[in-house]
């Protein structure tokens, strides 16, 4: 029966090519626009480290004085940690692994005549950074806690930067001049760019940035290397000293494997805050200390720009308009065939049969519209990739989104076909037959 209905639907659609074309076009446009924006939202809220993200947590303390007022137009200082707090959390070693980090942008002197000096973005971090996030290495490895303590001038390059500087040769053991200082290359990391760069400071462009080098945080602080990202100070005087207790600029991540560890870490943060409050350094309630999971932190940071959300709403609104349109066109189409439907009914077809037949016809429009929608969405994503926004280059559709698009289109068009099909199968056959 299904094959027969499919055949009928094809014939009926072929009979009114313009109307069919309009319906397919409307479905395609609505689905295409919505799927473009849904894909953008999907890639922007994706898990940056699948498999590992569930164990990663970031602690946050509130060292602000009581009179400090948070402002809408300025970053929240408690999003980052101060140097003394980060070092205390590191020393306490309450997580399975933990690392403190900050972003840096340094002028790199290639020491080759054919390359001019250029700026590179990288990360200042403590030794556990690589094991904590599972950074894959091509050669060599990271540094040790002893290197951290000694503020050793060592650096890990990513494979792209190593290749740019040293060609295909072995970069490990070479020296790189960053800023004013020489660093010895001890490892080359494979291409590893979490999207978004969840561990970076929230003021950066987290979808397009990538770290090209990693070096010990202690070396960066002792050599006073340039720190990129936000630095929020709340006391007069030593505002610009990196080791100040009144300026937050560091990010901190810890690996916690079990619920017990997570609970213990939460308690530890509150205890630490209480202790600092007793010492007179913290003024606010110790319960202000927070522990975010990776996905929780991304949700808290709300990285998706309002423009993207607005565009999604707009696209869905557009899809709705298209769907109402299709309801109207299908209604016109089905009711025009009242005579044919009445003949079928008179010959013994039940209302349910008519309903299924017309439903299949709308589903067919959905399939065609979905295929067109996939093409339009690809075009839309291509145009987004040409845009200057920092998330633009991520806009790609994966297999699941592709399949989802088709499903979405079929479901939407079947829903759109419900009312017209219901209306058409309630046509009184006798009345129509008499007029024929």
């Amino acid at each position: 029966m299904l094959g027969y209905y499919l055949n009928l639907a094809l014939r009926s659609l072929k009979r009114t090519p313009i109307l069919t074309g309009l319906m397919v076009l409307a479905t395609g446009l609505g689905i295409g626009a919505s799927m473009t924006m849904l894909t953008v939202l999907h890639v922007m809220t994706d898990d940056p480290l699948p498999g590992r993200s569930a164990q990663l947590y970031t602690p946050h303390l509130d060292p602000l004085p009581l009179e400090y007022k948070l402002r809408d137009d300025s970053p929240n200082p408690t999003d980052d940690l101060t140097w003394p707090d980060a070092m205390a959390l590191l020393k306490a070693h309450r997580g399975v692994r933990q690392a403190a980090m900050a972003g840096g942008s340094l002028l790199l002197w290639p020491g080759r005549s054919d390359l001019r000096p250029f700026y590179v973005n990288g990360r200042y971090a403590t030794a556990d950074f690589f094991a904590l996030f599972g950074v894959p290495f091509e050669r060599g490895g990271g540094w040790s806690a002893a290197d951290d303590a000694a503020a050793a001038q060592v650096v890990v390059l990513t494979e792209t930067l190593a290749r740019k500087l040293f060609g295909t040769g072995n970069a490990v053991g070479q020296t790189v001049r960053l800023g004013e200082h020489d660093f010895r290359v001890i490892g080359v990391a494979a291409h590893w760019v979490p999207k978004p760069l969840f561990y970076a400071d929230q003021t950066g462009t987290q979808y397009s940035d990538a770290d090209l080098f990693f070096l010990p945080l202690s070396a960066a602080v002792s050599q006073k290397l340039q720190v990129s990202g936000n630095r929020s100070g709340w006391a007069k005087g030593d505002e610009t000293a990196l080791t100040s207790a009144n300026m937050s600029w560091l990010q901190f991540w810890a690996q916690l494997d079990t619920p017990a560890q997570i609970a213990a870490y939460r308690q530890y943060l509150v205890d630490y805050s209480a202790q600092q409050k007793a010492l007179g350094r913290f003024q606010r309630p110790p319960t202000n200390a927070k522990l975010y999971s990776l996905m929780g932190w991304l949700a808290h940071e709300n990285l998706v720009p309002n423009d993207v959300r607005l565009q999604l709403w707009l696209a869905l609104g557009f899809l709705f308009v298209c769907m109402v349109n299709i309801v109207a066109l299908l209604l016109a189409k089905f009711l025009r065939r009242s005579g044919e439907i009445s003949v079928r009914r008179a010959l013994g077809a039940r209302r349910r049969d008519i309903f299924v037949q017309l439903g299949i016809e709308s589903a067919l429009i959905g399939v065609a519209g979905g295929a067109l929608g996939v093409a339009i969405a690809q075009l839309g994503l291509w145009s987004i990739r040409q845009r200057p926004d920092d998330y633009a280059r991520l806009a790609q559709m994966d297999a699941s989104m592709l399949l989802g698009t088709l499903m979405f289109a079929v479901v939407a068009s079947v829903l759109a076909g419900l009312l017209p099909a219901w209306r058409a199968c309630r046509v009184p056959p006798a009345l129509q037959l008499k007029a024929m």
Partner: protein, 401 residues
């Protein structure tokens, strides 16, 4: 034109009529808000900026040795002045719209509190002329003030400051700002001049209050200055910036040198805004087209269904004009209902968006304008089917359907 028969006929076709009304209402709601967003963004792109945007070029030097700045910057400036067509040259720390916000809090009283992010600009000698600042009150810096002004942790060690008109009115409403003292914590600077509004380095980050909150300090040659500002006639700027970048590339061989005209810098800052505007325009156009096609489709179906009725009317004396008028009035009534529903919906969506996004209240005139636009689209869409209806010959009435 008698409306009652139209209403009676619509009552018999409730579902199609409701669908057209719904379609127009939705289109009206989405359209109003989309056009409003387009308007807001276009206004953003055209934020005025009281510097000589058309004549300025900027060459940025990164990575020069800061210890040699005292001698290198004057040397570079002398070399840049030699470029044909460059009428003014100066060094500066940053430019409006260059994305590199250097922000601080400034108040009218010592240790006061403010909710405004103020952009700090340090200008080298001649910077006012090179930027083309527009002086409204007071005077620019003199040579002595340039000589004894330094910068420590991005705070001026000098004693004078130029402020913008917006800040002057915000900090000292109803008074002249000249001679007043501007404070950061307990450090003060005397206001010697007020200039027309200059944009912040990153106005979107600074927020509406900080958009035109900019202060200018004088600065003797210093390592924090990375921008060389050149002013020329607009037609010379492309050549001037090219030559300047080449010259500085030779003089500062170890540094990264980037030259751009200010016009390009501005386009670059608003690039994502203008791409959003084009996207919104595209959606609006396509949506209007889809709505129009929907109306055409439904009305055609109606005309087809009523061929006999039209034939009877023609047979008993209705002219083609009467038939045309019938369908156009019918569409007008449906559009009117759609627009009433749509404006209410548009207003609701605007109120919702205001709560969750940075969107202001939609001005009232958006509603009548979009109502007229949709009404016109509806009339245009119904024209074809109405003409076809009018072409139905009266003889159809005598045949059975």
């Amino acid at each position: 034109m008698e409306i009652r028969p139209i209403l009676t006929s619509l009552r018999k076709h409730r579902i199609p009529a409701a669908l057209i009304v719904l379609e127009i209402a939705l289109a009206c709601a989405v359209l109003c808000n989309a056009v409003f967003m387009i308007g807001q963004r276009v206004a953003d792109i055209h934020w005025p900026n009281a510097i000589d945007e058309q004549g300025i070029s900027v060459v940025t030097v990164n990575g020069a040795d800061p210890k040699l700045a005292v001698s290198d910057i004057p040397r570079n400036l002398v070399a840049l002045r030699g470029i044909a067509g460059a009428t003014a040259v100066a060094a500066a720390t940053s430019m409006p719209l260059d994305h590199n916000g250097a922000l601080s809090d400034f108040t009218a009283t010592p240790n006061g509190k403010t909710t405004v992010n103020t952009s700090i600009y340090f200008l080298g000698s001649g910077g006012e002329q090179a930027l083309g600042l527009h002086l409204l009150e007071g005077r620019f810096f003199n040579a002595e003030e340039y000589a004894d002004s330094g910068s420590k942790d991005f705070n001026s060690t000098g004693h004078v400051v130029l402020i913008t008109q917006s800040d002057a009115q915000r900090l000292w409403p109803g008074q002249s700002a000249l001679g007043k003292t501007l404070y950061t914590n307990d450090t003060g600077w005397t206001v010697i001049g007020v200039v027309a509004d200059v944009l912040a380095q990153d106005p979107r980050f600074s927020g509406p209050g900080g958009r035109y909150s900019s202060v200018f300090f004088p600065l003797h040659p210093d390592g924090v200055m990375g921008d060389y500002v050149l002013r020329s006639a607009p037609q010379d700027r492309a050549r001037v910036v090219r030559e300047a970048a080449q010259l500085l590339g030779k003089l500062e061989s170890g540094a990264v040198v980037d030259g751009t005209t200010y016009a390009d810098m501005r386009t670059d800052y608003f690039a994502d805004t203008s791409s959003m505007v084009w996207m919104l325009v595209l959606v609006c156009v396509v949506m209007l087209a889809v709505t129009a096609f929907g109306i055409v489709g439904l009305t055609s179906f109606w005309v087809g269904q009523r061929r006999q009725q039209i034939g009877i009317r023609r047979a008993v004396g209705a002219s083609r004009g009467h038939i045309m008028q019938y369908f156009q009035t019918e569409n007008f009534l449906l559009s009117a209902a759609g627009v009433v529903l749509g404006t209410a919906l548009a207003d609701g969506i605007n109120l919702y968006l205001m709560r969750y996004y940075e969107i202001t209240r939609m001005p009232w005139y958006y509603l009548p304008v979009s109502a007229v636009a949709l009404w016109a689209i509806g009339q245009l869409a119904v024209l074809g089917p109405a003409l076809r209806a009018a072409a139905v010959p009266p003889v159809v009435a005598t045949r059975s359907a």
